[in-house]
Symmetry: C2
Subunit: 205 residues, 2 copies
Amino acid sequence: MARTGRPREFDRDKALNAAMTLFWAQGYEPTSLTQLKSCMGNISPTSFYAAFGSKEALFREVVQHYLATYGQVMSPLWDENLIPRDAIERTLRGSARMQATRTHPCGCLVVSGASNCSPENEAVQALLAAERQRTRTGIRVCVERAIARGELRDCATTAALPDIFATFFHGMTCEARDGMTSTHLDAAITSLLTLWDANALLTTP
Amino acid sequence: MARTGRPREFDRDKALNAAMTLFWAQGYEPTSLTQLKSCMGNISPTSFYAAFGSKEALFREVVQHYLATYGQVMSPLWDENLIPRDAIERTLRGSARMQATRTHPCGCLVVSGASNCSPENEAVQALLAAERQRTRTGIRVCVERAIARGELRDCATTAALPDIFATFFHGMTCEARDGMTSTHLDAAITSLLTLWDANALLTTP
DNA sequence: AGATTTTCATATTAAGTGATCCAGAAGTAA
DNA sequence: TTACTTCTGGATCACTTAATATGAAAATCT
């Protein structure tokens, strides 16, 4: 990108990662420019704005970076090569493990990154809301695919499965942040999936 | 309380309710004193501090008020006269209906009231975290009581039930705020409870 | 009445907010 | 070298934050 001129003295990727950690832990609004600049390597305001544009632009970049890395635990949802049940199980277990890992802030950035917002930052809130909606759609598509493939009965219980999984999925953020371990979440997922199996249809091998 | 002196010109209860609505919608930190004073009836800073002490003191009072009113949807959890399954079902359905009602902000204040916090407001965050822990305990006690009463099998699946219900319960806040209707939540609860029934023991009538 | 108590409106505080300006430093390109 | 581009540090911007100070207004109590 910058082929000429004075080279940047700080590592942009490291700074982005540090910002992600801070936003992840505190959320968008409570995180101040002062905190950000500090954790990004004591960079100056000028350097900050030259490199990232604004606080909101940085947050949007952080979200993209999060989705491309930690957020990939949800990629099974969109993998049509996987059996639907497998896709959902992998997503839930992968998210549980990721969200409860203590090497970074707990919970999911998309769920808790901008949950408290004043009216002037509605756009930031909407950004994450849209991403959550995408997840719900992915879950629903998986369940519908399972029904279409004859792996799941088409009944009232299975019709509610997408909402159950989505609610449980988003609830994990609260639990992980409150200290629930990956082991506990995993056990809960195991039990929750018996709800799927109780409505599964036998497929001839 | 105030028997003598100039009487207060604004309605303290109405002001508290208005503050609750604002905190409920935006969360603790993004809600400014200016917004609060405005929605509480354009009261002056002096009146505000005389009546409520500080922003944090007001929030604590708001939480108590919330627990004493809207938060009562969880009271079945502590009602030992109820059959455990009934206690949990009433709590879930009552919360779902309350959280999705549009006459006030969606979701649960205890879950979303201080989810984004800077370090200096950890105490506020801890206040709500403690309340959520109380809920988890209530759910767990219900399940354990059901097992002790012989209404639920004592197995791995039922051991995970408290965590499932708690995670789902806290997840409802995210769903309700994102627009999920009471009807959808209710249907999800119905299906989720089949997980209980699948592990229920027959009680001789 | 007059003393006391409490609330009110206005102005103001110090600190923090996100964001910009400017002069100089440190590179590349001719 | 000289011209050009980009980054850095520090000062500063206008604005908002939560919280106070001051003095007058409005009630009760003696």
